[in-house]
Symmetry: C2
């Protein structure tokens, strides 16, 4: 479909292209716009029916949105902005240069303008910055029939209407009622009697991770956001929560691979930005690699006497690093999913202790046997086997303790992942190795 549209555009058949687009989903249409040159995209965008254009606009990337915002006239722009939900507008403005933001604010009516300005002030990634202000608020005294009528009237303007919120005259959140509950209730019943009291809510300052966890745990379609006085200020809908969950996951993947998190997709990020996001951690970890090298230099006499010792260093270092990253990954992920809590630290240590014994009991003998057979030297075989066992233990301990320690210090546990643990474990393993060698072989 996409290729077809692009071909039609290249041969300037805009009206045929339009016919194909009309058959497509707004999400997919937005993707087609990504591939067009700015001029064609403005041309084609003008040909779309107003409603479809507005829906498609919300799914476009900041780049395309910016080129449209710059090219369209005020008259074209106003209905587009009006039909957008508040959270999408704010997300969009966060990415735009100042002149576009000014233009959008100028085109909005005073109420919307002050609302946008307020929403723009919430910290990025906080519940306040994620929420939308288009929700349905009912009153306790309404009957279910009145509530339905109210819904029918306000359906266009609210991002979700399946979960409605019940507030008092000061906008304090009193309860929540779903359309399903309303359907099951009598038309004459009162909202206050049907609603669920004490609904789960988050403060505007809640982090994206917390929001994601709540959605995952409680299977909600929308989550109310309240201010310090428990007044309802907005809602977060499940489709935004899905995005937030995926963003939080991506951030963890990146941090765990020694990358500074990035918000733009891989292919849209310049090589220079990619390099910048990678080089700081690499430099830092390289310096720790130097420490391991210094430890090795310190035992120059040992491997001058038995050069074979050097050839087992990579295997020891790699296995130590892998053991550590296995443990750290499990702990970091467990904490991100709230399955492991800081108070479980002793249980975790005890488990990793036993796991390292079991793993060591497999890997160490394997090494002792093959080295003995291959090089006919029991002392060297024992040196590698014992070092392997100790390294695995140290690696597993580091792997579980460092992320939990980070969490206790209010740091993101994800930074204590494989790259950092690998370099720390490397230094330890080399140190252990040469000391075991000196001890067993009396070099």
């Amino acid at each position: 479909m996409t290729n077809k549209v692009l071909e039609l555009i290249q041969s300037k058949k805009f009206h045929d292209a339009r016919m194909v687009l009309l058959e497509m989903n707004p999400v997919d249409i937005a993707e087609v716009f990504e591939e067009m040159d700015p001029e064609s995209s403005v041309m084609l965008f003008r040909l779309l029916p107003k409603e479809l254009a507005a829906e498609t606009f919300a799914y476009m990337t900041a780049e395309v949105q910016e080129s449209l915002l710059t090219a369209l006239t005020d008259t074209e722009l106003r209905p587009l902005l009006d039909s957008q939900f508040m959270d999408d507008t704010v997300d969009m403005l966060e990415e735009m240069p100042a002149n576009v933001v000014r233009r959008v604010l100028k085109l909005s009516d005073p109420d919307t303008r002050s609302l946008i300005n307020r929403l723009l002030q919430y910290e990025e990634g906080s519940a306040g910055s994620m929420m939308t202000t288009e929700y349905v608020a009912l009153k306790q005294g309404m009957t279910i029939r009145q509530a339905f009528d109210y819904l029918k009237k306000n359906a266009v303007d609210s991002e979700t209407l399946y979960t409605c919120y019940v507030t008092d005259q000061n906008r304090v959140l009193e309860g929540v009622i779903t359309v399903r509950e309303m359907m099951l209730a009598d038309y004459g019943a009162q909202v206050g009697d049907v609603m669920e009291e004490k609904p789960i809510s988050v403060p505007t300052s809640a982090s994206d991770e917390e929001v994601g966890q709540i959605f995952q745990k409680y299977d909600m379609l929308a989550l109310p956001v309240v201010d310090g006085e428990n007044r309802l200020v907005g809602i977060i809908t499940v489709d935004d929560a899905v995005d937030v969950i995926q963003e939080a996951n991506t951030e963890d993947f990146e941090k765990m691979a020694a990358l500074e998190p990035s918000e733009t997709p891989y292919l849209k990020t310049s090589a220079f930005t990619h390099a910048r996001k990678r080089v700081v951690w690499l430099l830092f970890l390289m310096l720790s690699g130097i420490v391991t090298g210094q430890i090795i230099s310190h035992y120059e006499e040992a491997f001058a006497a038995i050069p074979l010792l050097v050839s087992f260093i990579p295997m020891l270092m790699d296995t130590g690093g892998n053991c550590g990253s296995q443990s750290s990954t499990l702990i970091i992920r467990g904490m991100a999913l709230d399955e492991i809590k800081p108070r479980d630290i002793l249980k975790v240590i005890w488990k990793e202790c036993r796991v390292s014994m079991l793993v060591g009991a497999v890997l160490a003998p394997v090494n002792i046997i093959w080295i003995w057979i291959r090089y006919h030297s029991l002392p060297i075989a024992l040196t590698v086997g014992v070092s392997m066992f100790v390294t695995i233990f140290i690696a597993k301990m580091m792997g579980c303790l460092l992320p939990m320690f980070a969490k206790r210090c209010k740091l993101d546990p994800a930074i204590m992942a494989s790259p950092l643990i690998t370099t720390v474990v490397d230094a330890c393993s080399v140190f252990v190795y040469f000391n075991v060698a000196l001890w067993i072989m009396h070099i």
Copy 2:
């Protein structure tokens, strides 16, 4: 709250405990049951109101469900099973021993029994195994008013009613209509005129990753699942999709840390199982570490002549490994989110090429300078610097090519992550290092 309930149970105050539970959310009540001994849990479960008991049951872990299923009488069990949604029942049965499954099937009516048996046959992780069969199916000829009445009557029995499906007499999926659209339409309008045609759907064989991607892309509340003849057989709701997305992420995290994926949470997995899930990969990667060792042995004469050379090996290996895992993580994640497609391979190679030049242009000179200053040997400094530059390039290339290659071979790209790439890059870096040394220093 949890602690309060547990204290009350310990002092046998079951009715007081019940009062506290009644104030809580089913998800949280289920968590309390996790902490109780089996006898108390059966006792307390019987005290819960029927509806709350059923809701809580759906959120319990397989362990607690099993102990309840074994302890409760047939009369107690039947309403519990009746009120459960079909996908939850099937998920539960997948975890239960054969005798419990038989008992549950015996208690179900014949229709349900054959449905359960059919659903149990879908492969785990496929759309068929995730879907529920409780959906609302409307006909094109209904008016909106009739549809609302139908909804009101069937609201209890369907997992979601906000998205309704329009099918013909052969159950072929013709369209989708949301309650929001119904609310905006006239009561007299026909469903067929209001509905959206050609809705997005998946076959029963679709994977959990595909399902997750569709939910994330199209912001849906429910996704229809169809058979080979486009007949509607079930739906997947967004709350299950959130779980699926998180499970797919966890699996990637685990595979990327050389762990065999596990379905049980960290703390609920025995040390023995943990060890088993880790040791196979460790053994395999250890063997690759041996190869690197063999390469080093091969150059014994070189480092016998200049022992200092050995001390730069860890830094080179670590940096290579980190560079490789940075690239592989970005590519693997990009492909999981469908941001990078197999056809982008040339773009990716070109980008990684430039990134590796930029990163190398920072790290190599840093090494040349500090080694020169510290050891007053330009040849050694140059050896390390040049090797670093080449290693970074190789690592970045491996990091992007291996995952994309895996994808092309229909393997999961996540297995081509940091541990595997690290060991491959290790061998390359050592090989490059000693050859550069021989070349520059004519040893």
